[in-house]
Symmetry: none
Subunit: 251 residues, 2 copies
DNA sequence: TCAAATCCATTCATTTTCAATCAATTTTAA
DNA sequence: TTAAAATTGATTGAAAATGAATGGATTTGA
């Protein structure tokens, strides 16, 4: 995880919480105590927060301002462009599945209540935003994986069986012409797999860093989905274009 | 709990109460007498309050503002006392169901990871806290009701059928000796009903305002649960004590 | 007033948190 | 490609926070 992303997460946390412990942030960002301490030291110097023993405290200042850090980082920008395009594919009245993960999370900003869509998601971090938007939403039941905020496990698969989707939007960790779509956790892979089975159309949202990567658990062959990305090396282009649908969003 | 958090709680308490005893604060913050004494010493030095024998009293200094805005905090503290007692009933290794709602929400603060419990909940607002605490948790699948953050509907009932609970903790809107437990939304009532069916023991957490109230949808007869509350009118006491288990937590 | 009960300050051992440092890795620049 | 710079996680002794215990002070009520 990038430094700026962590900083953004910490600031977000303090917007909602007043005080936050170091241990919480370690879990949230999946890094070490040392790193969080450094982050806090930096953010304190920048007047974003006040350090206290065991954590940090909100400061009435910079972070009272609306979304400064938000949407500013290059990485997030890239994801937002992809997410925006993905959202534009949704039609009125669609029933869609939204996978857990930050890329998919960005999509929610581009959904509107009056599209009259129905959303099903296994992403716990999406819930708040969906509710605030007033979008008709269903959550998948099952085990809540702390690190990613994804609902997984056998319960999740059963729970999903109640639904059918017009479109399904997934994040992945690796895209490879031979090994297909992959992700580190087999249980998360199983959920994505099931989502694909239950959906008429599947879209994989991926920034450039995901291409030619292979992770542990296979989700599906590359032909199982349409890839939405924002840039592609020329040599990759040929390779992928032969085998699957791919939509490249220009900057 | 962080030191600054305790300090804030104490100050909040004094905004509302004029004087507060050490014992109250011990209960409120779930810490030791020593810690509270140290907190009071510090806050006195900072001119936030004046220590008196047995506790502390408000000072017309820094926190002089009447700040009546916090009508909610009083309620919250009442709920916390009830919630703490409820949490104390949980045994190592228990599988428990946590209903949606603010009273139940307070319980989470008193759960610990090393109790090795399993939590199932339909309360979306509980998720964050549960994950942060590192407690093994499952979410009920189904429709996310925006106003209350409860998961409801047929999907929820199906999803819950996968589980059995040692104990089940519910919030309600009305408790009446004749009409039993009631709540405004029939769909939420159905979830609570199902939780009762799936649990060995059921506890209803209720502050004084819930007694002798009747809401729209019936959940169960009054004998279906043990009520946990913090105060009870004398005339009510007789009435209820005949018909059901009730545990009154003293201040 | 006196005795019992409660409350308090102090001390101590334990636990948690902290800052500083270092080696390993990753990123950047040349 | 190589070297410099930045980032990271682990380690370590110091500092802070905590809960319990002790004995002295204060309050209470008979």
């Amino acid at each position: 995880m990038l430094t700026v992303e962590r900083h953004k997460l910490i600031i977000e946390k303090l917007k909602e919480k007043q005080v936050v412990t170091i241990q919480e942030l370690v879990k949230l960002t999946n890094t070490s105590e040392s790193t969080i301490r450094r982050d806090l030291a930096f953010l304190e110097k920048e007047k974003y927060l006040k350090r206290v023993h065991g954590g940090a405290e909100r400061l009435q200042g910079k972070l009272a301002e609306p979304d400064v850090a938000e949407k500013s980082t290059k990485f997030i920008q890239e994801k937002r462009i992809i997410a925006k395009h993905a959202a534009s594919l949704i039609e009125k009245g669609d029933c869609i599945f939204l996978d857990a993960g930050t890329t998919i999370h960005q999509m929610i900003d581009f959904l509107t209540k009056d599209q009259n869509i129905v959303v099903v998601t296994n992403g716990l971090h999406h819930i708040d935003k969906l509710l605030k938007k007033g979008i008709r939403s269903y959550v998948v039941g099952g085990f809540m994986k702390p690190t990613t905020g994804a609902v997984i496990g056998n319960g999740a698969l059963l729970s999903m069986n109640q639904y059918r989707f017009d479109k399904c939007f997934l994040g992945v960790n690796g895209i490879h012409s031979e090994f297909g779509y992959t992700t580190p956790d087999p249980e998360e892979a199983a959920v994505k797999q099931r989502a694909i089975q239950l959906a008429r159309d599947t879209y994989v949202l991926a920034d450039h860093s995901k291409f030619n990567e292979i992770s542990f658990a296979k989700i599906a062959d590359i032909s199982a989905a349409t890839i939405i990305t924002d840039q592609l090396q020329i040599e990759q282009q040929d390779l992928f274009l032969q085998k699957t649908n791919i939509e490249v969003v220009e900057q």
